[in-house]
Symmetry: C2
Subunit: 341 residues, 2 copies
DNA sequence: ACTGGCACTCATGCTTTCCGAGTGCCAAGT
DNA sequence: ACTTGGCACTCGGAAAGCATGAGTGCCAGT
């Protein structure tokens, strides 16, 4: 039996009510609150059909219906209308994000903003080095047997690492290395830079080669290593607040939030800022998180997505509102990055 | 009425049992489990005395007793015996912490280790700049109107900041500034360095002075700003696990954990690594956290405490075990820092 | 295709009852 | 002066019974 328009309306109404009240919703309440021009009995028939289709379920025989994962899926795919942000929310985005001094600062502010806006747990991935290009490499001598390696990318990201040299190296040599290194990798993307750097030791005298190799090894590590797959999290307290609904999963969720590996899986591949992914309930099981929904999108300068951000919340979340918030924040941050480029 | 030895034994026994079972403990259970050589009736008399003194309380008339904050206080001050770490735990400390590449890495590993060891929420403050000295300042040109400022301290900490210059500056001038700056502040502690840097703009021609001032301003900001009062947190999931006991406070606690200001207050002044502070229950109320206990200690190279670390947990925690773990980790990290100096 | 009516189900909340762990106190024993 | 066994008492919490009412499915009538 195909779902006619009214049945879809009913599904939408059920989801809206359930999200608002967190309680199974019955046919009577439904006709009262939404002006569907029909009687409860009719609604009951529709509900039976929806249940047949697996979009809603009843927790026990004599209770109202609650949406299933499949129901939410249908809702976000076909039923949800965009809910524009309130002016206050738009203002909050500006106030929060303008005045970030630093890429790290942008990430920190963004994650807090998202958590506050959506009242869910927010997750923001740090822009990955992988797709960015090297703007500058700096070598700073720290005494004769140590150097500080600083890598700056076009995304404003700065990575630094202290290199222990296997042998003492004199100043002239350090200056030489710095000049050559800077010349060799500037402007290249990270993988090209790694390749270019790898060839460098050849150019030095055997005496110095070991020290050079140590520096280069560290540089390549920084460039290539997924070390940069860091994430920031905020809003865990929101779980406890709305949490009554997920006590069971709460511990698991909190654990997942500290497991960055799981988070990265949840965030998934960075998509373009204008695309937005919604994964609902069981759809997240492979990522190691049951009974929660995840809304993610990519962000980055232009249409190039460097990293992902998103929120994690109970399946019965306010999808339209959350989607709007995630989208708006991602767009704004992307703009900031584009401007700062 | 003074508390004789047996009454103290009873208090200790009550606390041990309550911590283990989380249930009010009665006189009968007590004589069964601990071989106090007397009858339940006698214990009851002692309990009455302890209750009179405010060390224990009964949740309701016909239930066993539970320790009060005051009881725990007496326990940790006078009754707790040191509980040495198990070999497995000692090994865990080594395995976890050795191989940290980086100061940040040390902090991250430490906080995770502490959380795992104590099964509580662990908090580690990043070593503060305040008491450290400047090892090196580096200026990296990024085009003509931007520079990257990098500050390295003797604790291995690296801070970087991008400075937007108010006017274009040529290369020679940049090199000059870099040389003078490095010369002026190297080896000084942060406040002296800030003072020294403040005098620098004088030395430059009026044309360049604005640009120099911008760089110096940023440097001083980095040096002086409490910006460095960052903290790392781990083990929030442990709250949910043992949490049944604090549902009420759970949300508040989770919120506090994201409020770094509150955490810093909780960690308190950094004490020497060999001193350890225990704050119990209501004693934390002024810091904005009710009904939780906090165990903190300082850490840093030598006896100089750079920062604090500690754990936060329910008042009914295993004090001897937790104290031992916090102490051992702090000592080990301090040693690492001393060695790496 | 919709509606009103009706019998049925069953979670929830309330009251009642019962049980027993635990207490305080007292009088007797060491 | 402590300690102990005995005993009456309290009261939270589990178990059982009962009423309520929201909600359903189905059917016959419009």
């Amino acid at each position: 039996m195909p779902l006619d328009d009214r049945k879809l309306d009913v599904l939408r109404a059920i989801i809206e009510d359930y999200v608002a009240s967190r309680e199974p919703v019955g046919s009577k309440m439904l006709v009262e609150r939404h002006h569907l021009g029909v009687s409860p009995a009719t609604i009951r028939n529709d509900m039976a059909a929806l249940e047949e289709g697996g979009y809603i379920a009843q927790p026990h025989t004599s209770a109202g219906r609650i949406p299933t994962d499949k129901g939410y899926r249908l809702f976000v795919d076909r039923l949800a209308t965009v809910k524009p942000l309130s002016p206050a929310e738009r203002r909050a985005i500006h106030i929060f994000l303008d005045g970030a001094v630093d890429l790290d600062d942008v990430v920190t502010r963004t994650v807090r903003l998202l958590a506050q806006l959506t009242r869910q747990v927010a997750v923001v991935q740090y822009p990955s080095l992988t797709r960015s290009t090297v703007r500058h490499v700096e070598l700073v001598p720290l005494g004769t047997s140590r150097m500080l390696l600083v890598l700056i990318t076009d995304t404003g990201r700065v990575e630094q690492r202290v290199v222990e040299l296997p042998a003492d190296v004199d100043e002239a040599m350090q200056a030489d290395l710095r000049a050559r290194l800077g010349h060799a990798v500037a402007g290249l993307d990270t993988s090209a830079a790694a390749a270019a750097a790898a060839a460098l030791p050849e150019l030095f005298s055997p005496a110095d080669r070991q020290a050079v190799a140590a520096v280069i090894a560290t540089l390549i590590e920084v460039l290539v290593d997924k070390h940069d797959e860091r994430v920031a999290v905020a809003g865990a307290a929101n779980l406890a607040r709305s949490g009554q609904g997920l006590d069971a999963g709460l511990e698991a969720l909190l654990e997942a939030l500290e497991e960055h590996v799981v988070l990265l899986r949840l965030l998934g591949e960075a998509t373009s800022p204008s695309m937005l992914t919604v994964r609902i309930g069981q759809e997240n099981a492979p990522s190691g998180l049951p009974a929660a929904s995840v809304i993610t999108t990519g962000y980055g300068p232009g249409e190039r997505a460097l990293a992902s951000m998103g929120v994690v919340g109970p399946t019965h979340m306010d999808y339209p509102g959350t989607i709007a918030a995630v989208g708006a924040v991602a767009r704004y941050v992307s703009q900031m990055l584009t401007r700062n480029n």
